[in-house]
């Protein structure tokens, strides 16, 4: 009984990603989309907070949004993977519910 969480806001401007990380349970998945994809970058002021959960929670970013913003997949931190819209659909189907952190 796992949950897919989506986060669509920049973690540098809002508390949304942190709140999501604080409520996601082990075995859940988090997908960063839209301006949320910045949360997956390595070497930022927030990387440590995300890295602390990459073991217990599956953390992904939407590759189309990453590419639009000029960020190569190599910029992602270890333990964070890029998926396309088809992967987004699979994540929704695989998890029992979706919680969108707006």
């Amino acid at each position: 009984m796992a949950t897919l969480h989506t986060v669509n806001k920049s973690p540098f401007m809002t508390q949304t990603l942190l709140s999501c990380l604080n409520h996601a349970k082990d075995g859940d998945a988090i997908l960063m989309i839209e301006d949320g994809v910045y949360g997956g970058m390595a070497g930022t002021g927030l990387s440590d907070a995300v890295a602390a959960r990459t073991g217990a929670v599956k953390i992904c970013v939407l590759s189309e949004d990453l590419e639009a913003r000029g960020l190569a997949a190599e910029r992602l931190m270890e333990g964070v993977s890029a998926v396309g819209y088809d992967g987004f659909v699979d994540l929704v189907a695989e998890n029992d519910r979706t919680q969108n952190w707006l």
Binding site: M1, T3, Q15, T16, S19, N22, H23, A24, K25, D28, R97, T98, Q99, N100, W101, L102
Partner: protein, 135 residues
């Protein structure tokens, strides 16, 4: 899957600055007619929706906070409020409205609808749903 689903309405935004809190409440009221299991979660700035003493004359907007007190009549009786969110904002349970419901299975005793929960308990509430609607 049973005929009844568990619906959670997640409220994370303050009232009045944006319309999400008001329009969320409109969904809750309509949804009550569908006889599903309904719970409300208030965390982050959503806890500000429940403060008592709201007076909106000065901003020309409708004060919708009394509507929360009517939720009991719609059999919406579980309003989870996150303690950590209150703490960070310098609020305590005393700053929130008193919202009661009458328990027909317990001689119509009045009981509080607001349940202050820890962040870990809030995560449990969230993980125990069929449908999560976020506002």
């Amino acid at each position: 899957m049973s005929d009844t689903k568990k619906f959670l309405y997640v409220n994370r935004k303050a009232p009045y600055g944006t319309i999400y809190a008001l329009e969320a409440l409109e969904v809750v009221l309509i949804g009550a007619a569908f006889e599903q299991d309904v719970e409300l979660a208030f965390l982050d700035d959503g806890v500000f929706q429940l403060t008592k003493g709201q007076k909106t004359d000065g901003i020309g907007m409708k004060n919708f906070s009394p509507t929360f007190r009517a939720l009991g009549d719609y059999e919406v009786t579980k309003l989870y409020v996150e303690k950590e969110s209150l703490d960070e904002r310098g609020l305590t349970a005393d700053d929130l409205q008193e919202i009661m419901w009458e328990d027909e299975d317990d001689d119509w005793e009045e009981k509080p609808s607001i349940r202050i929960v820890s962040r870990a308990e809030m995560a449990d509430v969230m993980a125990n749903q069929d449908v999560v609607l976020s506002f």
